[in-house]
Symmetry: C2
Subunit: 209 residues, 2 copies
């Protein structure tokens, strides 16, 4: 069972080999896994910034408690969720949906109105928590996609979203850094790779009701 | 590439076959996928309630805008995240970690103190958002594990967390319903199964910086 094998193989990589890069072909698969992840209503209210510029990487490392993965990993992806509701995003989605699924345009318009109505009733903070959560679904799938390709990864919450905002100019784009993923290949010196996983007993995690 | 195939195969199932059940063997694999999902610090601050009681299912359906998946799907799993920080949870984790990874107990104690310090500084609402997000990582992996086994699933946010709380007595257990997943096998009548997926262009979702 590939998913279980992938989940067992992966670990939160602490030290990457700075000289090994993920191939363009594998990167395209990883991007597809994110794009195919389910999101609420299918809206995909986030962007992924792929940070390549070494100077930006160095600044972001400082904004991430100096964690070496930010500069050493082959890839640094910053999942940025939308910060406020813009009805145009929903209209764009429902127009795309109508086209792809050959639906009458009236249906698309009605659906957009329904979703926009429901989103406009949300307080802004609830909206932000909700869009952030959507990026975590994609994150869960991405970790598995990486492992299946033999690619190491480290999901990271230990960063200052405010400093990321400042360095990357996110608010001006209606974005906020929700979660960061570094990906590449482990360094031989990463001693944490050999540590056994720590997990609850299934009977502690699952309760039949 | 199994992950991509799984993500392409899956869809948010609207109508389940109420007569087809997931085997005990497959259920154990699905539980393992949730248990192996990464979580922040490895703390796994959630429980999954597997709702089997038909009367509870009927009540929860009402609290889920009448969606038929809640009663018709083979499984109804309610991901419930912890609502407030209890230092004992972190101590239990670090004790388990020390045992599994053969670490000195002083290290475990220091680590628990560090994590407890960092969590006790969080406002309760931030804590709740954070534990909720962790369940979405597991959700992302679970959808892939299901698809790989040919099991249909539908992640659901359309429910009243307050009513779930009341029906399942969650607050008394320091829990809150974060997200719901129904799993089983699609009904032949689910016409949404044939609809093509609607996704952004990769160039709209990913931005190189």
């Amino acid at each position: 069972m590939k998913t279980i094998e992938a989940l067992k193989w992966r670990y939160a990589t602490k030290k990457f080999n700075p000289n090994r890069k993920i191939s363009a072909q594998d990167l395209e698969i990883l991007r597809k896994s994110v794009n195919l992840a389910p999101t609420s209503y299918g809206l995909q209210m986030f962007k992924v910034l792929e940070i390549e510029n070494p100077e930006l990487r160095a600044k972001l490392k400082e904004a991430s408690w100096g964690q070496s993965q930010v500069t050493d990993a082959s890839q640094l992806w910053v999942f940025c969720s939308y910060q406020s509701h813009n009805p145009a995003d929903v209209i764009a989605f429902s127009t795309r949906k109508a086209k792809v699924q050959s639906l009458p345009s009236e249906n698309a318009q009605k659906y957009a109105e329904f979703v926009n109505q429901s989103l406009s009733n949300q307080p802004v903070e609830a909206f932000q928590n909700w869009t952030e959560k959507q990026t975590y679904i994609a994150l869960g799938g991405l970790m598995i996609a990486c492992a299946e390709l033999g690619i190491d990864s480290c999901p990271m919450e230990g960063f200052s979203a405010d400093q990321y905002d400042e360095i990357l100019g996110l608010s001006a784009q209606n974005l906020k850094a929700a979660v960061v993923v570094t990906m590449g290949y482990r360094s031989d010196e990463d001693t944490t790779a050999a540590l056994p996983k720590v997990r609850k007993e299934l009977s502690d995690l699952f309760v039949a009701v």
